[in-house]
Symmetry: C2
């Protein structure tokens, strides 16, 4: 099997470092330890289609990062793009909203169990922050409980004191406890009587650079009961899982109801939109928060979201992704075993996490992942991966074949 | 002249209130006091083109709100839309960036005087918050000075304690002083020796519901000198003015250089993108801040921004908007005088503010604005207005004609 090289990506990255801090920003760049070894990865794409992306050196990859989630129906989905283009011809960002905004809110209310209303913004972090402000406005309390390793964006309250640019004041009213730990939650609530405004959590635990964890039996019911008893607003950050586990909300998938639920990545197949939805009793509180943005009335992403949700419902997208994810993760585990390695798969199959446990340092896993990337299977080692509905059984077969060859390289090179 | 009515807008708004908090969110809705009297305004659009928008009742308006700024070349500009559509066929939100990101950063560095680098996000508030975090990371200091009435988005640090959802901790390191007041700035710096991380300001003062103010002679040079002496990061929030006053940055327009400069609304003719640019010495600090978002690699808005900036430079868009704005504001002042009223125009001509001073309560001004709206000239009474390059002298003539008729209504109704 031919292995890829990236001379054009590397040259463009050199050019980029002159005019972009870090060359590529956020956690996405090659200079931040996420894509290691750097030589194994492309940096820039020329195009993408369906399950695939093509880098500027002409290499083709099955993309299991799915743009970190937004690619849920396949890149450049013709029906979604047609709906967006039709709206673009009419209007996008305008002084007043279009009627698509009302239609999309109605569709979310019809589709998501815990949604009595919807509010639209541009980023997951826009709506997790709005949810926290709404919980504070609704309760008149200050403190927020979150779970260790849970990711809710980059706003100061989500970060740790000591991170560059973050003040102690930014995080002093945020309490962090372990996921799946009802006792820790009870203790935190008891230690701060009448002071907890909200609990924010992802529907299951999908931290970076660590095994993922599904909610334990009774966990969500316990959280829900405690929040109800204590008048605490239960916020579900469904930015990453939303519409991949269930079109009805990941709270519904796990058998409970959130008070506020945050959507973003799965909502519009990549068109730029996020949404906060919630229960009727918080409609006044969310209205009272001063919150707006330059492009939040954009009609094009709303048209794309309407079509994306319609298609996901029609085809039962979450079931398709679950089936493909189960087949793939089972195949990868078997490939590892066959070649004498141990692969631990955690999380939900449609957005699984994996690591080789033969080497706790993670270096062996990095090496295996990078040998897959060099052969056209884009995995990363620091984050859960994603399935989309454009992937096929043939893609899964090819991926397993590549994974086996990558294991052979590890064996050949004496691990 | 026929006056407009809005039965379809009003019916859709009734429907919207069921599923959207406040019906239309942010400061944009009819229920928040910005569009008064409510009966004078449409709520929902069917389409927009060039200088115009069309509501769902079929009424046509010259839109002087320009989507609160993003409409700078005219709605649905054919060349910008073609550049965006061409990129959409290749890719938009993907796992890795496209080469357009590098090209756009290079173009901004070439175009904006104080830009040695660029970082892209989705909203003005994304980059004003990043600028503040960068100032804190660069200096190791906590306090930020801003100007009373200055708008920098909706993040908690920009708001006031007492606003719903805002904690005292959110704003306790923010000092607010009057614009154009160098003495107040000196006093604030002296009172907090070695503690001021940054000063953030719009290039001129354009608060809502108040006269706007240009920088007084020597103000910016004084601010710049003090910041340089004290090691304070000077942040210019050019979200609203950027590319309307000058393609080189509004700091250049007023003859000084910012350390960090925030762009958004004028950048891509409505496609969803914002940018933080800055001086070389802050490249390390901005890289050190953990900051990323779900759609921040979107290639389509980057392609749109490349074309928008190219066109604005080619045609000298700021000069066109200044000329039209001067003609319009002069015409409106004369129309007022001719009809026995006094109109005070403040701010820059391409994004002027105005109010009738015959009645300090603002009710007369509201009435005049609403009579303009009912005749197809979309003004608002709470915010500066905007010119775009698609407007023509014929539009200005029509606007002045409508303004005169609206003054006649005020006279007829005994003010």
């Amino acid at each position: 099997m031919k292995t890829y090289v990236y001379p054009k990506s590397q040259a463009l990255f050199e050019r980029a470092t002159k005019v972009i801090p870090g060359g590529i920003y956020g956690h996405l760049g090659p200079s931040n330890g996420c894509f290691i070894p750097v030589s194994a990865y492309p940096f820039y794409l020329s195009r993408a289609e369906g399950a695939y992306m093509f880098d500027i050196d002409g290499n083709k990859f099955i993309d299991y990062m799915c743009a970190y989630g937004p690619n849920i129906l396949g890149y450049n989905h013709p029906e979604v793009d047609a709906a967006a283009a039709a709206q673009q011809k009419l209007s996008d960002v305008t002084t007043l909203p279009g009627s698509k905004m009302v239609e999309l809110a109605e569709l979310l209310v019809d589709t998501v169990d815990s949604a009595d209303w919807a509010f639209f913004a541009k980023n997951g972090g826009d709506v997790t922050s709005l949810a926290v402000m709404t919980a504070r406005a609704a309760t008149g309390r200050k403190k927020i409980i979150k779970f260790k390793g849970g990711y809710h964006g980059v706003a100061p309250w989500t970060q740790a004191y000591g991170n560059p640019g973050i003040l102690q004041e930014d995080v002093m009213e945020v309490i962090t406890i372990p996921f799946n730990d009802l006792e820790a939650l009870s203790l935190a609530v008891d230690a701060n009587p009448g002071q907890i405004a909200g609990v924010i959590a992802t529907p299951y635990h999908h931290p970076a650079l660590a095994d993922n964890a599904l909610p334990e039996e009774g966990f969500w019911q316990g959280v829900r009961d405690l929040c109800t008893e204590e008048g605490i607003v239960l916020i579900i950050d469904d930015v990453r899982c939303g519409f991949r586990l269930s079109v009805n909300g990941s709270d519904a998938y796990y058998g409970f109801e959130a008070d506020l639920i945050c959507f973003c990545k799965g909502l519009a197949n990549g068109y730029n939109i996020s949404a906060l939805c919630g229960k009727e009793e918080f409609k006044g509180a969310v209205s009272s928060v001063f919150y707006t943005g330059s492009y939040w009335l954009s009609a094009v992403p709303m048209a794309a979201a309407l079509k994306t949700i319609e298609l996901l419902k029609e085809m039962d997208g979450p079931a398709i992704m679950r089936r493909l994810g189960l087949r793939l993760t089972k195949g990868l585990e078997e490939a590892a075993q066959k070649k004498g390695f141990n692969l631990r798969v955690t999380g939900e199959p449609s957005m699984w996490n994996m690591r080789l446990t033969d080497d706790e340092s993670g270096i062996l896993h990095q090496k295996w992942v990078s040998e897959c990337v060099r052969r056209g299977v884009f995995f990363c080692n620091h984050h859960n991966l994603f399935i989309n509905t454009a992937m096929t059984d043939k893609d899964i077969d090819f991926t397993i074949e590549v994974a086996e060859e990558a294991f052979d390289v590890l064996k050949r090179e004496g691990r």
